[in-house]
Symmetry: C2
Subunit: 111 residues, 2 copies
DNA sequence: GTAGCTACTTTCAAAAGTAAAGTATTAAGA
DNA sequence: TCTTAATACTTTACTTTTGAAAGTAGCTAC
């Protein structure tokens, strides 16, 4: 177990947050827990995201090997996004995080 | 256990991220795991944060009862920030999140 | 009377995000 | 043949958010 107790470790934490701490990253990752998705499918599923931001986020997540991008030479083109092993490891963490939020911040209708 | 599997639940998740998914929130919360801190102390401890953003984040976290703000009528004034019970519950989650990052994204010197 | 302390606030420029329309490639229908 | 449609982006113009730096208030010690 690592503990953040000095400035250097704080910086490491901020590096991590820079990669998956943004407005859209976790939402996209969460959706991919249920399996691979195509671009338009993600766009329909992530509430309020716009094309430019989805492209940017997918590029970023792929760069850090959290998701992988698979292109099929069909017409029109098909692109599939899915979680890598690294990405899949986030499932219990993001689940806990979401549940904390539901219990402590936001009461959604079905609770 | 809650699962995000529809649009409505995605929106709930985004509400949660709006509150603690920002660039600075988790860094501040993490520092407060080690106990109450004063304003200038936080400013020195959170790398690269500026006054304006620290004020804004502390106000936001206090609004959602994740931290509490205690003012002492000393000269010069003293203000103490600490985690509420809600906030303390984030400790294992943010710890796991940080450890995931260290293992999968960022290798800090002491690892 | 001047400098210093804390916890902010204000101002303005820079960066990031949003909305809407456009692009390439092919294929199917009128 | 000409129009429409589909996917996965790109581009442009605009708005919002963030950041850096300086300023404020109230008192105190030198």
């Amino acid at each position: 177990m690592n503990k953040i107790n000095n400035y250097e470790e704080q910086c490491a934490f901020q590096e991590i947050l820079k990669i998956i701490g943004g407005k859209w990253s976790m939402s996209i990752i969460y959706i991919l827990f249920s399996g691979k998705k195509r671009f338009n499918e993600l766009q329909r599923t992530v509430p309020h995201i716009n094309t430019r931001m989805l492209v940017k986020e997918l590029k970023n997540l792929a760069e850090y090997k959290i998701i992988s991008r698979k292109v099929f030479a069909t017409v029109p083109p098909t692109v599939e996004y899915s979680l890598t092993e690294k990405g899949k490891k986030l499932e219990p963490i993001i689940n806990d995080f979401y549940n904390w939020g539901v219990d402590n911040l936001y009461e959604y209708p079905g609770k």
